[in-house]
């Protein structure tokens, strides 16, 4: 089933219910060169959604544009039925690990507390309740013993879990995560995916930029195949097909053989 057809993708969320994320004809350009073309999405609630696509497909660009971090040159984004700047407090974000300076003079607890800043509002100090919430979030990613560590004294996987804890502290309903599995060891990856499933069970919607094709099929309920435009968007079992993946990744040989292998395993 080819879900890149706009009329079909618009009907994927039940009518009458506010979709966590609705994107219409979104176009984003860097210096007048478009990197995303006419993206249409209507995300169902309570799903763990993987965003897949080759390098430069605009995966990060899409989630940044959805949160208003990048200006759109055309189209609109609605989060829970409202423009993004009116529903930011229902959005949680895990940026790419490289996007910050890990030598910054803050410790793990400071970073997780930042997740509370949005709900706190301007110029209000974190309270004891915020601190205990931050501690709970650290506990959920098993990083509580590291609360007083300076953030540069952490491994890559630990840094990623700190970012996840910060996003948990946001207590949002819609999450955007930019490659949370990048540079993470296998044990951490399992722990993270369990946490994501737990969040999904709580009815939260999660968009996760992902790189690894073979694991994508097991991890995600829905997939968004992206290559400057939406190639397909739908339940994993419908979207994770040889044809659609080939359409997404084009003629890249190594990826294609990976795809063939992944599909073969699936059909075996």
């Amino acid at each position: 089933m080819d879900l890149s057809d706009r009329s079909s993708s618009l009907t994927t969320a039940p009518i009458g219910e506010e979709s966590p994320l609705e994107v219409h004809d979104l176009t984003v350009a860097y210096r007048k060169k478009p990197v995303l073309w006419g993206v249409d999405l209507r995300a169902p609630a309570g799903k763990l959604i993987g965003i897949l696509g080759p390098n430069g497909a605009g995966k990060s660009t899409l989630i940044k544009a959805c949160m208003g971090l990048l200006p759109a040159s055309a189209g609109w984004v609605k989060v829970f039925g409202k423009p993004i700047n009116q529903s930011l407090l229902r959005v949680g974000y895990v940026p790419q690990r490289e996007s910050v300076d890990w030598d910054f003079p803050v410790n793990v607890m400071d970073v997780v507390l930042m997740g509370r800043y949005g709900k706190l509002g301007l110029f209000r100090r974190p309270t004891a309740a915020d601190r205990s919430c931050a501690r709970d979030c650290l506990e959920r990613v098993k990083m509580l013993p590291f609360a007083d560590r300076q953030i540069s004294n952490l491994s890559g996987g630990q840094q990623q879990r700190v970012f996840l804890a910060r996003a948990l502290a946001q207590e949002s309903d819609l999450y955007f995560m930019d490659e949370p599995f990048a540079g993470v060891d296998a044990a951490t990856e399992t722990a993270i995916i369990e946490l994501l499933h737990e969040l999904r069970h709580q009815g939260k919607t999660l968009f996760v930029v992902h790189h690894d094709l073979p694991t994508a099929r097991n991890y995600f309920d829905w997939l968004l195949l992206l290559n400057m435009r939406v190639v397909a968007f739908g339940p994993t079992e419908h979207v994770f097909t040889y044809d659609l993946l080939q359409k997404t990744y084009g003629g890249r040989l190594t990826i294609l053989s990976e795809v063939a292998e992944a599909v073969r395993v699936k059909e075996a």
Binding site: K64, M67, G68, L69, N85, L88, L89, V91, G92, Y93, P95, S99, V100, D101, F104, P105, V106, N107, D110, V111, M114, Y117, G118, L120, L122, F123, R124, R125, P126, Q150, R166, Q170
Partner: protein
């Protein structure tokens, strides 16, 4: 000293500006001490300074303290945001504004200068922003251009004004290299306003400025007015540069912004502490600089402030706890000494073990053979053991004290546990594990040892079949009771 007579050169506006700039360097260096005191006895001068008897001293001290506070505080944000060069560019970019502020009513009106300098500073940073956004040039190139371009324009304007009839008496050239003695009551009032503003805003918006500096993208998602906060920080920075200009001068302002904050960065891992330390170091640098320049004649204040700040940095570089050069060297040295001691203890243990602990002491010669060292070297090692009460020596036979015995047994235990772990869990061949264990044995902590024990199911023999000293043996007394317990393991194979 400096050729100023070439009229053809002075007709050239730009070159003329440069010459006047250089000329003012010499005059500033000669004139820039606090007050017009002629005494040269430094004790008397120090007393005058410390009692704050002179109004000019009071103004100078207050002014340098205020700008130390503001610069230390805002410099902290510059350093962690890797924007140190922005401070430098800003301090140069304000110069044309200072000159135009003068033009307003041809006298030193702090408010007019403040406004002119702020506008010029904002224009400069705006242009940097514009260049990086619309061309392929990166920020460093844009900063370099704007810095020099605005500075050149400022020098030109200043040289033009100095040739006007009233220009010479205005003291406009003091803004280039600073003169704390020129700080008046009007200036202090302005500095106080700016300091209160900066302190107040940073205290109220600490949380916001922290997040915007650490992760601007996340701050936007948290619905913080990220852009306004960033612009606000730049505006405060411009204010601080402008008020620091008079005491330190455009050329050295960036040092007052960066050095105290960089020093504080070496001292702590937390942002709020870094800001507090930076503020204190900035204040101290200000007072120290003012004091030092007051001691002699013809000593400039600004350079002394910067030198004081650099002095604090050097102290932190060498002595900062945990990260300074000296503490690091000291820790490495103590560790080296500890490892040598532990190796000696281990050698004693092994010699005794080979004879099934029938003896209590070893001779220096045996020890030298075992350690493959000269007699003298072993003698020194034993003396080091005796100095920490790990061993006693009679003639040339060495016996371990209870604490020495305990440490020796635990090192041997660490070594053998690790060897066993490597052969069992990592499946390394028994003849490959010794060198690794030689290093690990000195760093295994209590927790790691407990974990190893559990994983190895409290095994009592290492891969080479030698007994692993049990916990009782480690805590046991060496005399009598030790023999009974340790020999319980039987002879090693």
């Amino acid at each position: 000293m400096i050729p100023l007579t070439s009229s053809s050169a002075r007709q050239f506006l730009g070159i003329g500006g440069l010459f006047v700039g250089l000329n003012s360097l010499t005059t500033t260096l000669c004139a820039a001490r606090i007050g017009d005191i002629t005494e040269t006895v430094w004790q008397a001068q120090a007393l005058r300074f410390l009692t704050l008897a002179d109004p000019s001293v009071r103004f100078a001290v207050l002014g340098t303290v205020l700008l130390g506070i503001v610069c230390g505080l805002l410099g902290g944000f510059l350093v962690v945001r890797r924007m140190s060069l922005v401070g430098d560019a800003l301090s140069h970019a304000v110069l044309p504004g200072v000159a135009l502020g003068f033009l307003w009513n041809m006298e030193k009106d702090p408010v007019a200068i403040f406004i002119g300098a702020t506008v010029a500073g904002l224009l400069g940073t705006g242009l940097v922003h514009l260049i990086t956004r619309t061309t392929r040039l990166k920020e460093d190139a844009a900063l370099g251009m704007i810095l020099a371009g605005f500075f050149g324009a400022g020098l030109c304007l200043m040289s033009m004004f100095q040739r006007l009839p009233t220009g010479n008496k205005t003291g406009i050239d003091k803004f280039l290299f600073g003169q704390a003695s020129a700080i008046g009551a009007e200036d202090i009032r302005l500095m106080t306003v700016v300091t209160v503003l900066v302190l107040g805003l940073i205290c109220v918006g600490y949380k916001e400025f922290l997040l915007v500096s650490f992760d601007p993208g996340f701050s936007k998602v948290c619905a913080l007015p990220t852009r306004w906060l960033q612009h606000g920080l730049m505006l405060l920075l411009t204010f601080s540069v402008v008020i620091a200009l008079q005491a330190v001068g455009a050329v050295l302002v960036s040092a007052m912004l960066i050095t105290p904050a960089a020093t504080a960065y070496l001292l702590t891992d937390r942002m709020h502490r870094m800001l507090i330390y930076g503020t204190l170091i900035g204040m101290l640098s200000g007072v120290t600089g003012a004091f030092l320049s007051f001691l002699g004649t013809h000593l400039p204040t600004g350079p002394f402030m910067v030198l004081s700040a650099s002095g604090f940095f050097v102290v932190a570089f060498f002595f900062a706890p945990n990260r300074g050069v000296i503490p690091r060297w000291w820790m490495a040295r103590s560790q080296r000494i500890r490892i040598v001691r532990e190796n000696t203890l281990k050698a004693v243990y092994q010699i005794l073990e080979n004879e099934e602990f029938r003896r209590e002491s070893v001779s220096l010669r045996e020890l030298a053979e075992r350690r493959r060292l000269t007699f003298d070297e072993v003698f020194r090692e034993v003396r080091s053991l005796i100095s920490v009460n790990f061993a006693t020596a009679v003639d040339d036979s060495v016996a371990l004290t209870p604490s020495g015995w305990q440490r020796a047994a635990s090192i041997v235990r660490n070594h053998r546990l690790w060897e066993l772990y490597l052969t069992h869990a990592v499946q390394m061949a028994p003849d490959h594990v010794h060198d690794d264990a030689e290093k690990i044995e000195h760093v295994l902590g209590e927790d790691a040892v407990r974990q190893l024990e559990r994983r190895l199911e409290f095994a009592d023999r290492d891969p080479h079949g030698r007994p692993i000293p049990a916990v009782q043996a480690i805590h046991g007394h060496p005399n009598g009771s030790r023999e009974k317990r340790v020999t319980g393991y039987g002879k090693s194979s």
